[in-house]
């Protein structure tokens, strides 16, 4: 909704300062040493600097959990909200202020458990924003409880005999939602891929859902360990329309040619359990974006009062 009459502001870009990495630095990150979130923070700061996004025009929205501290560590506007509800807040911001760049940071519990309903609906609304789900397959801040993405058999404080059920596959879910427009997966321990994926996500118009595999050194360090140590366990999705990181292809020799326009192929790849696939699973920039569908003509107070007179006449005695 552009009704705030803000859009003219966008044209006032004369003395554009140039932003360095440290212009985006907020409070010192207080994640544990070795936490994968540090790597994501660095990639995001690189992205902001590379795109020269104005800090005052950028909002990071998060929920609750370790990764949701993210906005505090950036020098942009931030909204550290409540558990599971980052997406409605971000949608509200995009509806009212389409001039702002909106990023959402959630954990796996935040996104796929308590906030699952919002996740599905935000994918369908498809507002233009980057949505990062930092998936360490565990509840960390509350100290080691099973999450929907915890691997079956993995022991935690709430399921000490091991997780009872197969883990939820967030890619299958996202790729199953009508009108979802961008679904990608990357890993924090592959920084060049992470950065390239975030850039692709930012470049996409619509909701870019990026699942970022992320290690928790305290509670779930073993979850991705074999893939970290053995590049053969990773399959890179390669395509000219996907994420292209030439150097990486020397390390990760298993490459899967995948056209991100092919939703059926994307779903097939998401179903595969033999290895972890990194890359853009699906992208369709033509899908409807809710805030654009709902855009209305801004009205001045006087115009509104004239219209209100017309409206009140319908109720006149």
């Amino acid at each position: 909704m552009s009704s705030c009459g803000l859009l003219p502001v966008l044209d006032l870009d004369e003395d554009v300062p140039s932003y360095e990495l440290n212009d985006y630095e907020g409070a010192r990150a207080r994640w544990c040493p070795g936490c994968g979130d540090h790597s994501v923070l660095t990639a995001v700061q690189r992205l902001l600097a590379a795109e020269q996004l104005k800090p005052e025009q950028t909002v990071f929205v998060s929920g609750i959990g370790c990764s949701s501290r993210f906005p505090h560590y950036l020098k942009t506007y931030g909204f550290h909200g409540i558990h599971g509800r980052a997406l409605p807040v971000a949608t509200g911001i995009r509806l009212h202020r389409p001039d702002l760049h909106v990023f959402v940071v959630m954990g796996d519990g935040d996104c796929t458990s308590i906030g699952a309903a919002h996740w599905l609906h935000a994918l369908r609304y498809n507002p233009d924003m980057v949505v990062m789900m930092l998936d360490n397959a565990i509840y960390g801040l509350t100290k080691n409880q099973t999450s929907p993405t915890t691997p079956q058999g993995f022991k935690s404080n709430t399921q000490p005999k091991g997780s009872w059920l197969p883990s939820l596959n967030p890619l299958q879910v996202a790729l199953g939602v009508t009108n979802a427009s961008f679904v990608a997966q990357t890993a924090e321990w592959v920084p060049s891929h992470l950065y390239a994926t975030l850039r692709a996500a930012h470049a996409h118009r619509g909701l870019s859902f990026v699942r970022i595999l992320q290690r928790c050194p305290i509670f779930s360090s073993s979850v991705y360990q074999s893939a970290v140590q053995d590049p053969k366990k990773i399959g890179l999705l390669v395509h000219d329309d996907g994420v292209v990181v030439p150097d990486l292809e020397k390390v990760y020799t298993t490459q899967v040619a995948h056209d991100p326009r092919d939703i059926d192929a994307a779903r097939r790849v998401a179903d595969m359990t033999d290895r972890i696939h990194l890359g853009v699973f699906f992208r369709d920039p033509t899908r409807l974006r809710y805030e654009e569908v709902r855009r209305v003509v801004p009205r001045t107070p006087d115009e509104r009062m004239r219209e209100l007179d017309v409206e009140l006449d319908k109720y006149a005695v």
Binding site: L6, E56, G92, A117, V297, L312
Partner: protein
């Protein structure tokens, strides 16, 4: 029992002049009684009568026909003076079958001497069960002094149309138009408005049926009712409370309504969904109640104040977000159109049981503003106030309406739109060096908002305890101070309010205190009691948080203070109940706490608005010496 004869012999018509009369049209759902009632009410308002109408709504969309629970209709209280509430009992009912009439009888909705006009085809129906049901109903109704007049509605309508189910309501309207001497040109005009989306053939048929009913009544009914118009010289509009809330939201300059469907609040968004875009606004139907709050808060955070509208169960779901908005001082307007509770309760019926939920639902200390409009007119203006207070005090403003205001329809002075009602344009100027996210004025707790887009103002809002800079701070000193600052704002607001006016003498035997939609009924009851010589006055509160100032001083001038509310309280005569364990009306508890006055209460949860006559009885019973003079 034999069926009454279908046609009365024409007799001399008697015109009964009265200061007010209450009429209702009741049918199975889908037979159009509501449309008939709406048109009758609108015409009466346009003729200058005071009018208050209420819907009679079954809980289901299409309940089975001819069952008492399915009664659907419209009740109109017409007065020679402005009418402020739905009144006591119906004086004349027009029923499409005897079962829905029975429902009204059993509810005590009909005056003991009411005139009941009822479709008589059921008396001679081919189905023996229906005939038996008719007879049983007539026997049950005969216990009162009702005057029952059978009306051959279907037989008459069949002379004009093939399917009387689609038009008996217009016949009924014509009948009532004759009885109440309604201006037929105005009736036709209103039919045109009511069916504006239909073809002209539909309009013509309806007008023919209208005339048929009018002529039938002229030939067969022996009385007419004359309620002279009120002498009102100002321009009026007529609408229900939800329409008033919606138009008020527009008037306030808000641009985003995020909601999730819930009875009886949803119709606010129906109105807005039709017209809001013309005002540069949108209605966002969220995936759930929580998301509706989240979208509104996200929009408010980034710009102009947004609002969300719900009812009790939805309020329960939104409470975590409410606490967040209070904590981060993000302005938000939340409308709660109360219904009966707890849980799903009485979705279509009035109750005032959400007061405590509105005040205290959020865990932790989450002070915010709660206002309750007392009239349909106030539903319009409260939205302008609410938006402004939310912005000024950087907090949540809850507007407590209820099903009585939501579905009641009455005329009120036409608002004169004023551009000053609306929010200032967004301030997107860079912030001054060093300006913090919450620069609490140490005396008032007030601070200016810094929204995204303002260079130099970047910060992260957080529901965690935080200092002026919005930096997470767990230290006890910071939390104490920040909590104080958020709380102080309510006292500051209270200092700007004036004590509520007293209706009646400023001292006496009994003071009735009410809030919300009961104002009209309470004041009518107080006036009636005063005219009997009783020393009783009333006060009506709009602000529940903070409370309006000066209450203790007002209360101390009365020997007794008693609230009247539509929520539950124990009766002292009930088993196990005593002064200490008695659960009291919610406002009564609030007032006892604030004033240390022994405030009594008289409350009921009948699933309908309080009747002035019942309130009057309660007043008399609570007077010293039982009201004996």
């Amino acid at each position: 029992m034999t069926a009454p004869t279908a046609t009365l012999s024409p007799v001399e018509t008697r015109v009964i002049r009265c200061a007010e009369h209450t009429v209702e049209i009741v049918s199975d759902a889908g037979e159009g009684a509501q449309k008939c009632g709406q048109i009758f009410g609108a015409v009466s308002a346009k003729m200058g009568n005071g009018v208050w109408t209420v819907e009679i709504i079954p809980a289901e969309i299409q309940p089975p026909p001819r069952v008492p629970e399915g009664a659907s209709g419209y009740r109109i209280r017409v007065g020679a003076r402005p009418v402020t509430n739905w009144g006591d009992a119906t004086n004349l009912a027009m029923a499409f079958n005897e079962q829905v009439l029975l429902a009204r009888h059993r509810l005590g909705a009909l005056a003991p001497d009411a005139v009941l006009l009822v479709e008589n085809k059921w008396a001679t129906h081919e189905d023996a069960d229906i005939r038996a049901a008719w007879d049983a109903a007539m026997t049950e109704l005969s216990g009162q002094q009702y005057r029952i007049i059978p009306v051959p509605m279907e037989a008459e309508c069949l002379t004009l149309v093939d399917n009387p189910r689609k038009g008996a309501n217009m016949f009924a309207l014509g009948l009532l138009a004759w009885v109440y001497q309604r201006d037929m040109e105005k009736v036709k005009e209103q039919i045109g408005i009511a069916f504006r989306k239909k073809s002209s053939a539909v309009f013509d048929t309806n007008v023919s049926l209208l005339k048929l009913g009018y002529e039938w009544a002229e030939a067969n009914i022996d009385f007419r009712i004359d309620v002279p118009p009120a002498a009102i010289n100002e321009k009026l509009v007529v609408m229900n409370g939800n329409e008033a809330l919606g138009l008020g939201a527009i008037a306030s300059g808000m641009e985003l309504c995020a909601m999730y469907p819930i009875t009886p609040a949803t119709s606010v968004s129906h109105l807005l969904s039709e017209v809001f875009e013309r005002f540069g606004g949108i209605v966002h139907q969220a995936e759930d109640e929580i998301a509706a709050a989240g979208v509104a808060i996200g929009a408010s955070y980034s710009g102009k104040v947004a609002f969300t509208v719900t009812s009790g169960p939805g309020l329960a779901l939104k409470t975590e977000f409410l606490g967040y908005a209070v904590m981060t001082e993000i302005p938000l307007v939340l409308i709660d159109v109360q219904r009966g509770g707890p849980s799903t309760g009485l979705p279509t019926k009035v109750e005032q049981s959400d007061l405590f939920a509105a005040l205290y639902a959020s865990p932790g200390d989450a002070p915010h503003i709660v206002i309750a409009p007392a009239t349909i007119e106030e539903c319009f203006h409260v939205m302008i106030t609410a938006r402004r207070l939310a912005e000024t005090f950087r907090t949540v403003v809850m507007v407590l309406s209820d099903a009585n205001l939501a579905t009641g329809v009455t005329p009120f002075p036409r608002p004169v739109p004023d551009a000053k009602w609306q929010a200032e344009p967004l301030d997107l100027a860079p912030v001054a060096d060093g300006q913090k996210a919450y620069e609490w004025n140490p005396v008032t707790g007030l601070s200016r908002r810094v929204i995204p887009g303002r260079a130099g103002g970047m910060h992260t809002v957080t529901g965690l305890s935080h200092d002026e800079g919005s930096k997470v701070a767990y230290s006890s000193g910071v939390h104490q101070r920040a909590t104080t600052m958020r709380s102080r704002k309510l006292a500051v607001l209270q200092s700007m309010l004036t004590p509520p006016p007293v209706h009646g003498d400023e001292s006496g035997d009994l003071l009735i205190v009410g809030w919300g939609s009961t104002k009209g009924a309470i004041e009518e009851a107080v006036d009636a009691a005063r005219s009997q010589g009783h020393s009783v006055s009333s006060v009506h509160l709009r602000f529940l948080s903070p409370l309006e100032p000066g209450l203790k001083e007002i209360f101390q001038k009365f020997r007794k203070v008693c609230t009247v509310e539509i929520n539950y309280s124990d009766d002292l005569t009930d088993p196990f109940i005593n002064e200490e364990n008695r659960r009291r009306g919610q406002l009564s508890m609030l007032l006892r706490n604030a004033t240390l006055v022994d405030v009594d209460c008289w409350t009921r949860v009948p699933g309908e608005p309080l009747r002035p006559g019942s309130i009057q009885e309660a007043i008399v019973a609570r007077l010293p010496h039982g009201g004996a003079k």
